[in-house]
């Protein structure tokens, strides 16, 4: 039944809306349903309103957006690079962001009051810088080879991860725990500004990718074939790489090192709707959103009073289902 996109997409959208409401409700301080509604649509109790509008809602929306962004990024990267192991984290995006964070924490022991504002900026700078270096190293005479980019990405992210590990070993326990949970993937410091910024930039990139989904279909074929049907392979794959990386580093700047979503959601989508990017792009976007919302609910309710990093919950929920699909098909 779900093979048909006309059934699947509305179902997923309804599911996302349901999960959004559930996710706002979930957490350490439980909120009765009537208060939830009244504070969303009218002026309810001041504290509850603050809790919902300023704390919960940005975080919930951020996890939805991050799920969407990472999944889309992985979907594009897998198509362009012809490699089923590709995901944004493989190219060192998370590693670069993590190193910047660890460096900052180690150099400026006293956390500045602007830390929550600075964190996304630092992460984005680290991720962007890492990709820029890889891109320069992997391109030759302005031509980019996807396989080389992947190998460079793996090598450089290994180097960066080791450096981060070394820095982490020098940290006091509390900082260590913070960086560890950030690297495992945690929505941290989501605010309305960052949600707004994420929404606008992702909408633009998503539009571009959806508009070019025919070219993406062609690129996913063998290189000779795509040249044969008149696609400028180098130019187009460069564009897609850059778009996917911008998307992933935006997500990493708020969500930390989530590697599972970008890898598995596109594969899940492919096993449900098939390889046509016109259907695959929306399907993986929706599946990514669903997975991260479920994971966010889990991360805030399962281990109270602790908060489990969302990346860990996403993997523990998503991996068995993915394995099941792999066994079935």
């Amino acid at each position: 039944m779900f093979k048909n996109v006309k059934v699947l997409f509305p179902c997923l959208i309804v599911l996302i809306l349901l999960l959004l409401v559930l996710d706002i409700q979930a957490g350490y301080a439980s909120i009765p349903w009537n208060e939830l509604l009244s504070s969303l649509f009218a002026h309810g109790d001041e504290t509850t309103r603050f809790l919902i509008v300023e704390l919960r809602l940005p975080r919930v929306l951020a996890s939805l957006l991050i799920g969407i962004g990472l999944s889309l990024s992985g979907c594009v990267l897998q198509g362009v690079s012809h490699n089923e192991m590709t995901e944004p984290g493989l190219l060192g995006i998370n590693a670069g962001a993590g190193l910047m964070m660890a460096l900052y924490l180690l150099l400026f022991q006293n956390q500045s009051p602007h830390f929550s504002f600075l964190l996304p900026l630092l992460a984005f700078a680290g991720a962007g810088l890492t990709f820029w270096i890889e891109y320069k190293l992997a391109s030759n005479k302005k031509k980019l080879h996807p396989n080389r980019l992947l190998l460079m990405g793996v090598a450089i992210s290994m180097a960066i991860t080791s450096l981060t590990t070394i820095l982490m070993l020098k940290m006091p326990d509390q900082q260590y725990a913070f960086v560890q949970s950030w690297i495992a993937g945690n929505i941290w410091g989501a605010s309305w500004t960052s949600v707004l910024f994420l929404t606008v930039s992702m909408a633009v990139i998503f539009g571009l990718i959806a508009y070019k989904s025919r070219i993406l279909n062609a690129l996913a074929l063998q290189e000779e074939v795509s040249i044969g049907i008149g696609v400028n392979v180098f130019k187009e794959s460069r564009l897609f790489f850059v778009l996917a990386i911008i998307l992933a580093s935006l997500c990493a700047s708020i969500g930390g090192g989530l590697s599972f979503v970008g890898l598995v959601c596109p594969h899940l989508a492919r096993r449900i709707v098939g390889p046509n990017y016109k259907k695959l792009v929306p399907a993986s976007v929706l599946i990514g959103g669903v997975l991260l919302l479920v994971a966010d609910i889990g991360s805030r309710t399962l281990f109270l009073p602790y908060e489990m990093p969302i990346g860990i919950v996403a993997t523990v929920i998503g991996a068995p289902y993915f394995l099941y699909l792999l066994m079935k098909n």
Binding site: N140, K143, A155, M158, T161, S162, F303, V316, L326
Partner: protein, 335 residues
């Protein structure tokens, strides 16, 4: 293999073996206490267990150097086997869940049993590695499925990510993360003779076995259809290849932690010298991986003596630039 390729392989092997002998000698001689060459000869002729230097030599330096050699060769060889079998340049023994299984087992032991002896942790991580690999293999074989390489990569990745996440979750709940980070940074400082006596025969047998099946891997890397039409029993070869990879990587991960660099990048480095035939890559990987490991371990001991720098950092700072240089040089030849 044609004539010129055989010569380039022989040249590569003889050069690397020479370098390897020199490096191993250096690894025995150099360290926080320096040992003269004459002392080594004397210690080999009549060992004196009351002499401090002889004790360092027999208990620390020699086991450590042998460990480096074997582990480097095994990781590199396991990486080459996996890349050949899965036809994926990003594969290494880690995608079979070996590293993740080992760290999962260690996370459980450290969190529930507290700190433990090194030998115990070696045993635990080997068990974990074997368990993860059996899990991947079992999932692949359910309902008598075929060992399709794309599915193998996906199943392996999903299982490793699952186990890694569980390990991270456990270590966050029990706040034992830092103990585990020391392990995952990798290191061979704790290797003693008792562990080598168990691990070395397994590794040696697996290394020889991988040379023996290198011709089949070479055929396998052409793709399943071509391999079948060339008369290769694809399923049997793949199963054998997986088994050998476990025997190579399991004990190595247990002894030294997950050293991803050697397994993933050595085959690529070797490819620049001997070409893309696995019959040449697999034997050439062994001395090359061993050199990388002995060299990196030597530097990790000397750079900040008497303290040891984690071997992961040495690979990050020296190995990666070297890899990038070679990769770019190879690029100019191709384009």
């Amino acid at each position: 293999m044609n004539h010129s390729k055989r010569w380039s392989l022989l040249l590569f092997l003889s050069c690397t073996l020479l370098l390897l002998v020199l490096l191993s000698l250096a690894s025995i001689v150099l360290g926080s206490t320096k040992i003269e060459l004459s002392t080594i000869l004397e210690a080999l002729k009549n060992p004196d267990l009351s002499n401090q230097q002889h004790i360092v030599l027999f208990d620390l330096r020699i086991p450590r150097t042998i460990g480096d050699l074997l582990i480097g060769a095994s990781f590199a060889c396991a990486g080459a086997l996996m890349q050949g079998m899965s036809k994926n340049p990003l594969a290494d023994s880690g995608i079979l869940g070996i590293n993740a299984g080992a760290s999962f087992a260690l996370a459980i032991c450290v969190s529930f049993l507290g700190t433990m002896h090194f030998s115990m942790s070696v045993f635990a991580s080997f068990l974990g590695a074997g368990f993860a690999m059996l899990l991947v293999f079992g999932l692949m074989m359910i309902k008598g499925r075929k060992l399709d390489s794309v599915r193998l990569v996906l199943v392996g990745l999903a299982v490793s990510m699952l186990l890694t996440s569980l390990a991270q979750g456990i270590s966050i709940l029990f706040q034992t993360g830092q103990d585990l980070t020391f392990w995952s940074a990798g290191g061979v400082g704790g290797i003693r003779m008792e562990q080598l006596i168990v691990a070395a025969p397994i590794l040696l047998v697996a290394l020889i076995a991988s040379i023996l099946i290198s011709k089949k891997i070479s055929i396998l890397s052409l793709g399943d259809e071509s391999a079948t039409s060339l008369g290769l029993q694809v399923e049997k070869t793949k199963t054998l290849c997986l088994l050998i990879t476990l025997l190579l990587a399991g004990p190595s991960v247990a002894l030294a932690g997950p050293i991803a660099f050697v397994g993933l990048l050595t085959p690529h480095i070797v490819r620049f010298f001997v070409g893309s035939d696995y019959q040449a890559i697999i034997p050439a990987c062994m001395p090359a991986g061993a050199i990388l490991m002995v060299g990196a371990d030597l530097i990790s001991r000397l750079i900040n003596a008497p303290r040891e720098t984690p071997i992961g950092l040495v690979f990050a700072l020296l190995g990666v630039p070297m890899f990038i240089y070679l990769a770019r040089k190879g690029m100019k030849d191709h384009v």
